[in-house]
């Protein structure tokens, strides 16, 4: 597939449109600005989400905005798109001060947004989705033919290949995203904001998206790309602004900066981007999956005859695009979902029929993919979550009652050891950041000293600083001789941590590679194209 082979290039910004309106706000001779934010300030109650933000985005460029989760990127873009009103500050579009009170005003100002979670009506066709809100009259008929012609033009002009009569839910995610882009362009957007656009894409789809973005830029559009992935910033942007804790800390020309510098700006200290790990010393097989088949609640086969094993002292990574059976595999391994056939063995003994509590007693620990739904009760205080699932441990019991003092003492120990902040076991779990919540789950599961550790999406929604810590702990567990199964949709994470990579597509294992296999090779397997 040629689209994977395209080399990463970072061309100089093309000449600016001659038609750009001249503006009194920038000095003569400087490149005209598409967007200028001056002193934007926004608080939500106690949380100061954006502090005196200044940002200038040049017309006809791809401008990256990078920062950790909670740095304020999304809030800033929501202000630009009229979802929230800034408490203070001014937005200038093409040099003209503009008040953006709602999305309608943003659309009128030529700003389009591609949301992280697509704002598409799934049982509508592409055409209907594109028309929604821009129907061109009370009756649909005249609008439909006009929209069809306009879509055709946009598709050819920007190399967006989408069938206007396809129903959204039948389209792969990459195409759904193109519909979002089409929606914005159809409304005449000159400035396109993309919020974490590659989170749901295969590497090939992401490459395709980047190609589209370059075409858009070359046609004179301005693209603002919000991401937390440094690699994407380096691959596609012309300039990058870094946000940290609600502040805009720096803006760089991408060609003149490095991944290391950006990471340091994001976190505020030096970060180890590479996982520091030695070679694995695999022991005997600890976890064995044999011809496992799992169906979901609709009876659809989600895991199809999957077999692999994990040895003590090694990390096996399951790579794949979200929704290819990894979640169901994890649930079956954790005893939450009963497999319809096949077997799972821990230390050679079958676990069929064991519930999650029995599995835990047999040395299995599980860090679920979705900590909010399965890993934690967010309304509980931290210490309650720190023993959730292990509340029957005699250490935490005083006769038939919970030994609150013992539990809190244990929680405080874990807080210290895992550097959970704020260090307060009486705080409601919902009030911890994503990274600290994940550390609470990890501490609970790892400190049981399991023989088999299965981890789903260990760093989803976790900031770089915490990622570094979590990765280190996982490698330490491996070196302590634990068998670790790691499921992640972040291919970079799998390649950095795993000793062997198993790729899943459409519920099947399509192949196994070493982590130093090229990203392209793995990407093709994840897309079900190569084995």
């Amino acid at each position: 597939m040629p689209e994977c082979a395209e080399p990463v290039s970072r061309p100089v910004p093309p000449p600016v449109n001659a038609t750009a309106p001249s503006s009194p706000t920038h000095p003569a001779g400087a490149a005209p600005l598409a967007i200028e934010l001056v002193g934007i300030d926004k608080s939500f109650g106690q949380v100061h989400a954006n502090k005196d933000i200044h940002l200038a985005v040049k017309r006809g460029t791809i401008h990256g905005i990078i920062g950790e989760n909670g740095a304020g990127k999304s809030t800033l873009m929501s202000i630009l798109y009229g979802f929230y009103q800034a408490d203070r500050g001014e937005i200038r579009v093409g040099g003209v001060p503009t008040v953006i009170r709602d999305s309608q005003a943003a659309i009128a100002a030529g700003i389009g947004m591609v949301h992280q979670h697509f704002m598409l009506v799934e049982n509508f066709t592409v055409l209907e989705n594109v028309m929604l809100g821009a129907e061109g009259g009370a009756f649909l008929k005249p609008g439909i033919s006009r929209a069809r012609a306009e879509l055709k033009r946009l598709e050819t002009e920007y190399a967006l290949d989408v069938d206007p009569d396809a129903v959204i839910e039948s389209l792969p995610v990459g195409r759904q995203q193109r519909v979002e882009i089409l929606k914005a362009l159809y409304r005449g957007a000159d400035i396109l904001i993309l919020d974490e656009p590659t989170g749901v894409l295969t590497p090939a789809e992401a490459d395709h998206l980047f190609r589209i973005l370059r075409v858009l830029r070359d046609q004179g559009k301005t693209v603002i790309l919000i991401t937390h992935k440094l690699r994407e910033i380096m691959a596609i942007t012309d300039a990058v602004s870094v946000m940290r804790r609600g502040e805009m800390v720096a803006t760089r020309t991408t060609a003149e900066t490095t991944v290391e510098e950006l990471a340091e700006l994001m976190v505020g200290r030096r970060v180890l981007l590479k996982v520091d790990k030695g070679p694995a010393h695999p022991g005997p097989v600890a976890l064995q999956v044999k011809n496992l088949t799992v169906r979901d609640h609709r009876g659809v086969t989600m895991v199809d005859d999957v077999s692999f094993d994990v040895r003590a002292g090694e990390i096996v990574g399951i790579a794949g695009v979200a929704g290819n059976g990894q979640s169901e595999l994890l649930e079956a391994l954790a005893g939450i979902r009963r497999p319809s056939s096949g077997d799972i063995l821990i230390d050679g003994a079958s676990t069929l029929g064991a519930d999650p509590a029995m599995l835990r007693r047999r040395g299995l620990a599980h860090v679920p993919e979705d900590r909010h739904h399965m890993g934690l009760v967010l309304k509980f205080e931290e210490y309650e979550n720190s023993i959730l699932g292990y509340q029957d441990d005699p250490r935490f019991l005083n006769g038939p009652f919970m030994d609150i003092d013992a539990i809190r003492a244990d929680a405080r120990e874990k807080i210290a050891k895992y550097d959970i902040r704020p260090p307060n076991c009486r705080l409601k779990t919902a009030n911890f950041s994503g990274g600290n919540q994940q550390k609470i789950v990890l501490a609970r599961e790892i400190e049981r000293d399991p023989t088999v550790l299965i981890i789903g999406q260990p760093t989803r929604g976790v900031d770089i600083g915490a990622i570094e810590f979590i990765h280190k702990r996982i490698v330490e567990m491996r070196d302590a001789g634990k068998a670790i199964l790691l499921v992640s949709v972040e291919l970079d994470e799998i390649r950095a941590l795993a000793d062997r990579v198993v790729v899943m597509f459409a519920g099947r294992v399509v192949g196994e590679k070493t982590p130093d296999a090229s990203e392209q090779a793995l990407g093709l397997m994840m897309a079900g194209i190569a084995a």
């Binding site: 999305s103 309608q104 943003a106 009506v121 028309m131 821009a134 929606k183």
Partner: protein, 323 residues
């Protein structure tokens, strides 16, 4: 009476029994396709019926009564709308509350105003919607089969009956061929898509519940001043719930909604027809069996014979912009 005549009579009564269900189910269709579940169809029908009965007896005008029924029903719709759209409350609780209020208040006010045990006084024919003779019905009555069908089945219903059947293609057209319909269907599936397109989710949903109120008012007026000659305590008798079942059965689509309502109306008509009549081979069957049939059928059909009925995805969930 020969079998053909009997069949036509049953079908004729099917039509009459279908109308309140059809109006109510269309009400539910608009509301639920916009993402607002409406278990309060029953209460709105009942309040509408009471308003129609009261206004008809006082003013003597069926048209004023119809308008009054619609206004009362829309007012209750707005209460439901306020609770579930603006105040983001639980839509089921709000709907149930409306049912209780309507059931109690109609009887209370009825007794207070008319002192007839909660019913409104018997209406003279001038204060009702009377059967309309379609052109030529009398002339073709004697033409075998076709003429008789036209005269008995097609002709001779009140204006509201024709309105109900016209409302079906109209609803289809409104939902699938207008901007309002496109947005309404969208807001029931993904209000975020509507919001980001710069359209007010709340106003759209309010309009949908107002449409639901209008249809429930029509349904109630039909019961009190077309089918009957006055309001009777609890005269909706669960029709609002049957309409909801028909809506689910029809997978929230206008034309199937009509057929589902006709099916339930038919079962009702058969039940009435067979009361006290011995069924061949079986003998006399207790009337309760027939009365229970629509409910039993609903249970069986919904339990899997119609495939999965997927409700509008955002149904029942108040819309809040995500932080």
């Amino acid at each position: 009476m020969d079998l053909f005549t009997a069949a036509v009579l049953v079908l004729d009564s099917t039509v009459r029994l279908t109308i309140p269900l059809l109006f109510a189910a269309l009400a539910g269709l608009f509301s639920e396709r916009a993402g607002v579940f409406d278990i309060g169809l029953e209460g709105k029908m009942l309040a509408g019926a009471f308003a129609a009965g009261s206004i008809a007896i006082v003013t003597g005008s069926p048209y004023l009564a119809l308008v009054g029924a619609i206004l009362v029903s829309v007012a209750l719709s707005l209460v439901h709308g306020f609770a579930s759209i603006t105040a983001k409350g639980n839509q089921i609780v709000s709907g149930v509350a409306i049912n209780f209020v309507a059931a109690g208040l109609t009887v209370l006010l009825g007794q207070n105003w008319f002192s007839q045990g909660g019913r409104t006084p018997q209406l003279p024919n001038t204060a009702r919607f009377n059967p309309i003779e379609l052109p030529g019905a009398a002339a073709v009555r004697d033409v075998p089969v076709v003429g008789y069908l036209y005269a008995e089945l097609i002709s001779g219903h009140s204006i509201l009956v024709y309105l109900a059947f016209l409302a079906v293609p109209f609803s289809w057209w409104a939902l699938y061929r207008t901007r309002f319909g496109l947005r309404l269907r969208a807001v029931g599936e993904n209000p975020g898509a509507v919001d980001t397109a710069g359209i007010s989710v709340e106003w759209l949903r309010y309009r949908a519940v107002i449409v639901a109120g209008i249809f429930c008012g029509l349904s109630g007026a039909y019961l009190a001043i077309a089918q009957s000659a006055g309001f009777i305590k609890d005269m909706t008798a669960g029709k609002g719930y049957i309409a909801l079942a028909a809506l689910i059965f029809a997978k929230w689509k206008p034309v199937p909604v009509m057929f589902a309502c006709l099916l339930f109306g038919f079962l009702d008509a058969v039940a009435i027809r067979l009361q006290g009549t011995p069924v061949p081979l079986v003998g006399e069957v207790p009337v309760q069996i027939f009365q229970a049939l629509p409910y039993i059928l609903t249970c069986i059909l919904l339990a899997g014979f119609i495939g999965t009925a997927i409700p509008p995805k955002a149904g029942g969930v108040p819309y809040t912009k995500e932080r």
